[in-house]
């Protein structure tokens, strides 16, 4: 059976640092071309999960598969976008985008990606000359350059202002349509998760387990102000409040059809 490119399967992942349990049996299946967000209390292990999928770290137990193949280390098939742009300050914008490509042939690909993120004129600029939003666009182009099947985003827009953030979210969706990569996004912004993703996985406080999954069955392009998204947001917030020990809970919410609640 052939498995379409970009499917990600995570099963029974456990990870702890010393006596600190961070992941406690996380499992998820992400379909090719899907955008999935991870939300959860801060410090709950979302970033650890991304690091494991990126191959930067190994789980204590459990399995990670990309298109049916076990993930044993970093691979050009998985791209990462960090919270900060992390551009190399001594390289130009174009050289930064080409950074993960094999040397020699990257020019056409780099030019196309710079066009996609709207920075063709800045190909020769140095990172210090860029604004925060521009630098993050370069980081997006760099992560996409090797043509990854899966793109991991660790709070990618949390350090830019609200206007830039909205712009970058739309840019990301445009690129997603063009490149078709599977995306797994860690975010603190529920609005961002709702606007971008097909599904939202709400994680419990550390050690992270999957608390609930919210399907965002809203056609794109989405309206950020839509009442549908607002209802879903209320649901996610309820789960999060509950998770962080808030007394308030919207009784009966779990019965709502638009929330596919999978209790642990």
């Amino acid at each position: 059976m052939s498995i379409p490119a970009g499917s990600l399967t995570v099963d029974q992942l456990y990870k702890s640092f010393g006596s600190l349990g961070v992941l406690a049996g996380i499992g998820a299946r992400i379909e090719p071309g899907e955008i999935v967000s991870l939300v959860g209390p801060s410090g709950c292990g979302k970033s650890t999960l991304l690091r494991l999928i990126a191959g930067l770290d190994r789980p204590d137990s459990g399995s990670l598969h990309l298109d049916g193949q076990a993930i044993t280390g970093p691979s050009p098939r998985v791209g990462v976008i960090f919270q900060e742009p992390r551009l190399l300050p001594w390289l130009t914008v174009a050289q930064n985008v080409a950074f993960g490509l094999p040397r020699g042939k990257p020019n056409a690909r780099v030019a196309a990606l710079l066009r996609a993120v709207g920075l063709e004129e800045f190909a020769g600029a140095l990172p210090r000359e860029l604004s925060g939003g521009m630098a993050q666009r370069v980081a997006i182009a760099r992560a996409l350059a090797p043509g990854p099947e899966v793109l991991l985003l660790d709070e990618p827009f949390s350090s830019v202002d609200a206007f830039t953030r909205m712009h970058l979210q739309d840019l990301l969706l445009a690129i997603w349509r063009q490149e078709g990569a599977t995306m797994l996004l860690v975010t603190h912004e529920i609005d961002e998760a709702l606007y971008l993703s097909d599904r939202i996985l709400v994680l419990s406080a550390r050690p992270a387990r999957r608390r609930v999954e919210v399907a965002v069955d809203v056609a794109r392009p989405r309206d950020r102000r839509s009442p549908q998204l607002a209802r879903l947001k209320a649901g996610v917030l309820t789960e999060l409040y509950h998770e962080i020990g808030g007394a308030w809970e919207w009784a009966g919410f779990r019965q709502r059809p638009e929330v596919a609640a999978i209790a642990n």
């Binding site: 990126a54 791209g79 990462v80 960090f82 190399l88 950074f99 993960g100 140095l126 990172p127 210090r128």
Partner: protein, 274 residues
């Protein structure tokens, strides 16, 4: 531009005042001329030495020693510093020994060097190389360890091996610190060339100093000191130029906030534009 000129000129004011005061004081007999000859006398001495060709021979001898010792010392320092900086194992193996040797005052080696190598060029170059080695070594290791872990992680994501990580991320990231080490090493090299030549030499600026002392010629000693200042400044200026060429990408504090640079950045401030 105007502020730039003013700043450049301002750096000459104090030396000019000191020289003028010294000249006048010596001429008026405040200092006896054989103890503190006037700047004009020192210049004249240098001029006469230059005419006979002696001066150039001294300069050439010292400069050659500095450059050769510096090249040997810093090349080994960057190589060892890189090895220690890039590997925990090599750090544990090498660094304690090197730090122990570093704590020995370099001049303490002189008797041993003379005993082993005689009084030729070898002990001089060795002394200078050892002197230039340590600041460069320390700057290289600390520069490598100071590279942002987050940038190294970018290389990890691309599956870089150790060599690619070192070449494409860590060494460029450590370059600012390495260059500071080279500049310090160059300063130390001039320090030790004088020490080496004071001990045993028939050429070189250190020899000029010995010569001046033995013949009670303060003008010759002062001339040699002026030469050391000029050559030290020249070699440092060269390294500074190299620094500016190699580190053009740096986005760091230039000694002044953008607000006060004004003219190029935004509307001119009135008090500057006059």
């Amino acid at each position: 531009m105007r502020t730039g000129w003013r700043r450049r000129i301002s750096s000459y004011v104090l030396p000019a005042l000191i020289l003028a005061g010294w000249e006048v004081a010596t001429r008026l007999g405040v200092f006896p001329a054989h103890v503190l000859p006037a700047p004009s006398t020192v210049l004249q001495t240098l001029y006469l030495e230059a005419r006979t060709g002696e001066l150039w021979a001294h300069i050439a001898a010292s400069t050659w020693r500095v450059l050769a010792g510096f090249a040997i010392g810093t090349a080994i320092a960057v190589a060892l510093g890189a090895v220690v900086g890039l590997s925990r194992g090599m750090e544990a193996f090498l660094d304690p020994t090197l730090q122990a040797i570093r704590s020995i005052p370099t001049l303490g080696w002189v008797p041993l060097l003379l005993l082993w190598m005689g009084i030729g060029e070898a002990p001089k170059l060795t002394l200078i190389a050892v002197g230039a080695f340590f600041p460069t070594y320390v700057a290289t290791t600390s520069g490598i360890r100071g590279v942002d872990r987050k940038l190294v992680e970018v290389g990890d994501v691309y599956g870089f091996n150790r060599i690619a990580l070192a070449r494409r991320i860590i060494l460029p990231g450590a370059l600012p610190s390495i260059l500071v080490g080279l500049r310090t090493g160059m300063g130390v090299a001039w320090l030790f060339v004088v020490a080496a030549e004071l001990i045993a030499a028939s050429r070189g600026i250190g020899f000029m100093l010995t010569d001046g002392r033995e013949n009670s010629r303060a003008d010759l000693i002062l001339g040699a000191i002026v030469l050391l200042a000029l050559l030290g400044k020249l070699s440092d200026g060269f390294l500074k130029l190299l620094e500016r060429r190699l580190l053009y990408w740096r986005d760091s504090f230039a000694g002044e906030s953008a607000a006060t640079i004004g003219p190029t950045a935004g509307p001119r401030r009135t008090e500057v534009s006059v």
